[in-house]
């Protein structure tokens, strides 16, 4: 019986030690995966969007607010992808929370010129926000996260710096290998459902020449689909890329009319069963693209 208070104290100490890990919540699984790679055992990371879900459209849930209430750092994608994060952050009532925009320092693609309005569809005025799909941008994001972790938790700064350096080394080795493997994809014309892939296209060398959506965020129309059939035939497009959260109906119809193959790539970590970390995301997508091309 005398041991009970000691045991209780030990449990409390252990619980305190566990909770002493720096709590991070990220908008997406990709930012969470990079944060895990940089922070290692010193951080506890959660994410709000599912890897196989549409990151543009996440429900504002009270359970997400309480998760953010416990966090010290929130990692935002930015560039207008995750406006749903703001009511969650506000609802968390967390005065200690540091919000980190992970698009900082990224060379953003497809920034629209001139006036942007809703007649252009769901266009992001600050540019395409799917930047994590270029592994080179993963390095920029890792550095941003490293700096945020060092600032929030200086006691473990050395660990975060070495975690980031190790991630960078692994990524650079992998990127060289991916570039080599992706040679058959150079200049390959593809069609994608949504404009999610310009960064991956730049990294692997393929070309996105058309979209199933007539405008970003706008459902396919028969006339646009007919135009796309012509485009796929004329440009001899062998691959139609589909995000797992969009309906396969129109891509499959396009495929049946043109002979192209539909490939459901993982747009994020967790977007497919095998994709458990950031590096696995590129391995998986590259495997699928190469298999679809037949090399």
């Amino acid at each position: 019986m005398r041991r009970t208070p000691i045991t209780l104290l030990a449990v409390l100490w252990l619980a305190a030690a566990v909770s002493a890990r720096l709590a991070i919540v990220a908008s997406t699984t990709d930012l969470a995966a990079i944060a895990r790679a940089v922070g290692g055992d010193e951080v506890q990371v959660g994410s709000l969007a599912r890897g196989d879900g549409n990151p543009h459209n996440v429900e504002v849930l009270p359970s997400s607010m309480v998760e953010v209430a416990r966090a010290r750092i929130y990692l935002k994608v930015g560039l207008g992808l995750d406006p749903w994060a703001q009511p969650i952050i506000d609802g968390s009532r967390n005065p200690r929370l540091r919000v980190v925009d992970c698009s900082r320092g990224v060379a953003v693609m497809n920034v629209p010129q001139g006036k942007v309005d809703a007649s252009m569809g769901d266009v992001h005025p600050e540019g395409n926000p799917h930047y994590w799909l270029d592994p080179a941008n993963g390095l920029v994001v890792a550095a941003t996260i490293r700096d945020a972790l060092c600032e929030a938790d200086p006691a473990h700064a050395a660990g975060y710096r070495s975690g980031c350096a190790a991630f960078e080394t692994r990524m650079k080795e992998a990127m060289a290998a991916w570039r080599e493997r992706a040679r058959p994809l150079q200049g390959l014309p593809v069609v994608s459902f949504h404009d999610s892939w310009p960064y991956l296209a730049r990294a692997f060398g393929f070309q996105v020449v058309g979209f199933v959506e007539p405008r970003p965020g706008i459902e396919p129309t028969p006339s646009h689909t007919a135009e796309l059939v012509e485009l796929i035939k004329n440009r001899r497009v062998p691959i139609i890329i589909r995000e797992p959260y969009y309906s396969p109906r129109v891509p499959q119809r396009l495929a049946s009319l043109t002979g192209a193959r539909v490939v459901a790539l993982a747009p994020s970590v967790g977007g497919a069963k095998a994709v458990e970390d950031y590096m696995a995301l590129f391995e998986h997508d590259l495997d699928l693209l190469l298999a679809a091309k037949g090399k």
């Binding site: 506000d90 965020g217 959260y245």
Partner: protein, 393 residues
């Protein structure tokens, strides 16, 4: 119509001023949104002047301006412009979001009272179009809204979230303007209180449950004039009337609500919403008696009353842009239990591109005590300009 025309310049002037200053301070612009609500409806309600005719109406224009005031607080202003009410401040409040102890948030201003689930939502959220009858009967078509201040908190409970709120309200919305015009209306209206406890629980992947219990205690105008009083009104100076104290009668409204939502994927899902209301208060029946000497005296007798209401809707989403559902709507009169209103109906909606343009059609079969049942149909076109709205649960 003339009211709206008179007030429009002031409202539009304010917006133009805001727009003019916006260019100079682009990085700190508030969010500006406008939502138009156009309706075509037809009702077979007996006694209605335009019974069976097609009624075209620009029901409402809602202007919303909102944004952070500073790192700790935000403000929201929602103006409703319509032909009957002119310009109405639907909501105008500030929220002190962070900085208070224990994760509390303070909300102050004029706002919809978080009594149940639907009352706190703006009507353009409802695919069934009409406010549930129980809230219309108790608070009018605008629902329960009032000026006040409240504290709220959100506490973790495992993977669930427990929400708590407590509000001090000016009147609680139970005393309408008509009631205040009554000769028996209290000169001073006591403050009202409301509170809510809610539990949000993720049940499974993409399946969530939200339960709520809320209550409002507010002063009511309890006087019910019986037929004999109407026939023989008591004379002023009647000691009973002079001593009559209707000011200290209170009513309690309790609402239990539930929402169960399963979002199968980006394209389809199911949801169930149920709200049940109980209203308890005491009325005073004023009965007049004529005496042989010609005098008329009034007798007030307290009578405790309980009334109920229920609203339930089950809806499904399919092909991403289509929603359809069924609903049941019931309300019992607060002062006469045998006066009841029921409606059953179906609705379907098509959203052209997210929340920017939506067409909804709602069909209702209405049954009211002492009246012939009738059917009604409303086609609503909602169109909104402005920043994306988050997709709340």
């Amino acid at each position: 119509m003339s009211r709206i025309v008179r007030r429009l310049p002031a409202a539009l002037g304010g917006l133009l001023l805001l727009a003019a200053t916006a260019g100079a301070q682009a990085p700190v612009n508030p969010d500006l949104s406008a939502i138009g609500d156009w309706r075509a409806s037809s009702s077979g309600q007996p006694g209605r002047p335009c019974r069976g005719r097609l009624d075209l109406q620009f029901h409402e224009l809602e202007l919303a301006i909102g944004g952070p005031l500073n790192p700790y607080a935000r403000a929201d202003f929602k103006l409703s412009l319509n032909e009957e009410e002119g310009v109405d401040i639907e909501e105008a409040f500030l929220v002190l979001q962070r900085g208070l102890p224990w994760g509390l948030q303070l909300k102050a201003g004029k706002c919809l009272v978080d009594l149940g689930r639907s009352n706190v939502q703006h009507p353009h959220r409802w695919l069934w179009i009409e406010r549930p009858l129980m809230f219309q009967d108790l608070f009018g078509e605008e629902g329960c809204k009032d000026t006040g201040a409240g504290l709220n908190s959100l506490l973790p409970l495992g993977s669930s979230a427990l929400g708590l709120s407590l509000n001090l309200l000016d009147q609680g919305g139970l005393l309408t303007e008509e009631a205040l015009d009554s000769p028996f209306a209290p000169a001073v209206v006591e403050k009202a209180f409301s509170g809510r406890v809610s539990l949000f629980k993720p049940l499974a992947n993409r399946l969530n449950l939200d339960l709520g219990l809320s209550a409002l205690r507010a002063q009511v105008n309890p006087v019910v004039l019986t037929e004999s009083y109407e026939a023989l009104p008591a004379t002023p100076g009647d000691p009973l009337l002079e001593d009559f104290q209707p000011a200290k009668r209170f009513g309690t409204v309790a609402v239990a609500d539930l929402k169960l939502k399963w979002k199968r994927d980006e394209y389809s899902g199911l949801s169930l919403v149920v709200e049940a209301l109980q209203h308890r208060h005491t009325v005073q029946d004023l009965t007049a008696t004529a005496h042989p000497d010609g005098a008329v005296t009034a007798v007030a007798v307290d009578r405790a009353l309980t009334s109920h209401g229920l609203f339930a809707a089950a809806e499904g989403r399919f092909l991403k842009r289509w929603d359809s559902g069924l609903f049941y709507d019931y309300s019992q009169s607060a002062t006469a239990a045998d006066l009841q209103r029921h409606a059953v109906g179906a609705y379907a909606a098509f959203s052209m591109a997210e929340e920017t343009l939506r067409f909804s059609l709602a069909l209702r079969h209405n049954v009211e005590s002492g009246a012939e049942p009738w059917d009604s149909a409303t086609l609503q076109v909602l169109f909104s300009l402005g920043p994306h709205k988050p997709h709340e649960f």
